[in-house]
Symmetry: C2
Subunit: 202 residues, 2 copies
C-alpha cells in the first residue's frame, strides 16, 4: 500500500520504518524536504493512507501544507498529541470539550480521521509484543470503514484485532489525548516509557 | 479507626458501608444532617481519616462547611472528580494545569490530601476482586506518610499493595482526573462501569 507519513521525528521515523519493513511503499514528509524526506504535499499526494506524526502544536499547519485535496477521501491516522510545554511543565493546549483529533477533522472534513496510537511510546506502537500482556490501542473516528482499515493496518504492526478498542466517534480523542497527563505520571511510576494499559473486565 | 465520609451519594454510601463492615467507626456527613447522616462538620470532627465523596463541583464548599480545623493534620482521601455537566455533555471544570485535588490541598494546606479511587466505579473501589486481573488504583499526594496510610486502608478494601500505584505529588491528580474522559468512553466500549485498567510493563 502507498503510505504517506507526515513528520520526521521519532514517531514518524519509527512508523515509516516499520511499515516499509512490511513491504509498504512509504514516503515521509517534512516541512522542508531534504535527506530522505519529501515535502508534506508530496508525501500526502503519494499516500493512500496517511499518518499525522507531526508535533501537535504544528499539526494543523502541516496538514494545510500537505494540501486539503491530498487529504480528501483518505484515511488519516492522527497520532499527534496536543502537548504544550510553553508554560514549563507538560500541559495540553486543548480543553475537555475539545481535542486535536476533532480540530483536524473539522479543518479537513473530507479526510477520514482516525485517532490512534497516541497513548504510547513509538517503539510500542510498532512492536506491541515487546511488552507482555493484553495491553490495548484505542481507535476513534467518525468513519466506521476507516476505523476497520486502521484495525487491519494495526494488525500488520502486531496488534491483534481484539486489542484494538473502538471508543466511538472522533470526540473520543478527548479521552485518549487527556490520558497523556496520566501517561506522563505512569512513566515516572514505572521507570520509563515502555509500558501500556490493559483493560480488566468481568 | 474513626472515619468521616463526606457525601451521601452512591460513592460515599458505598465506601462508608464497606469500612463499617470492616469494623471501623464511620460517620457520614451531608450538607443538611438527616437520616443516618450528620452534618459535614460533625463527620469531619469525628474522623481520624476523612473521605471526600462529594460532587466535585461542591467539594470546596463541603470542605469549608466541614471546617478547616476539623481537617487539619488529617489524611483526606479525595475521591471526587471535577465533572461538569453544565454544557450538556461530560466535561471537566479544570484544565491540564490544574486539578480538584490540588485546589483542595491549596485551600486546606493543613490537610494531608491523597487523591485516590476516583478512576473507577464505586463498587470496584471496595470490591476490586469483583473484576479479575491485576488492575490498579492510583494514589498521589504531597505527604508520603499519608499515602502509606491510604495504601494500608486500601489493603483492607481488597487492594494488594503492589496494585496501589504511587504517581507522585498531588499534581498527579491532573492525570487521574483527566483520565475520566477516557473512562467514560471505555464504559461505552466495554458495555458498563465494571472495568478498570491494569499496567503492562516489560
Amino acid at each position: 500500500m502507498r503510505i504517506g507519513v507526515l513528520g520526521t521525528g521519532m514517531v514518524g521515523r519509527t512508523i515509516a520504518g516499520a511499515l516499509a519493513e512490511r513491504g509498504h511503499d512509504v514516503r515521509v514528509g517534512s516541512r522542508s524536504a531534504g535527506g530522505d524526506a519529501v515535502a508534506f504535499a508530496d508525501a500526502a499526494a503519494h499516500g493512500e493512507v496517511l499518518f499525522n506524526c507531526t508535533n501537535g502544536a504544528a499539526s494543523l499547519d502541516a496538514l494545510a501544507a500537505a494540501g486539503e485535496s491530498n487529504l480528501a477521501g483518505k484515511v488519516l491516522i492522527d497520532v499527534a498529541n496536543p502537548l504544550d510545554f510553553s508554560g514549563g511543565g507538560p500541559a495540553l493546549f486543548t480543553s475537555s470539550t475539545d481535542s486535536l483529533g476533532e480540530r483536524i477533522q473539522h479543518a479537513f472534513p473530507a479526510a477520514r480521521v482516525v485517532k490512534a496510537l497516541n497513548t504510547m511510546n513509538c517503539n510500542l506502537m510498532v512492536d506491541p509484543a515487546s511488552v507482555p500482556g493484553d495491553h490495548v490501542v484505542f481507535v476513534c473516528g467518525d468513519d466506521g470503514q476507516a476505523k476497520e482499515q486502521v484495525r487491519a493496518l494495526l494488525g500488520e504492526l502486531g496488534w491483534p484485532a481484539e486489542r484494538v478498542i473502538d471508543i466511538g466517534d472522533i470526540a473520543g480523542a478527548r479521552g485518549t489525548e487527556m490520558y497523556l497527563m496520566l501517561w506522563l505520571r505512569l512513566m515516572g511510576a514505572t521507570g520509563g516509557p515502555h509500558f501500556n494499559i490493559a483493560l480488566a473486565t468481568p
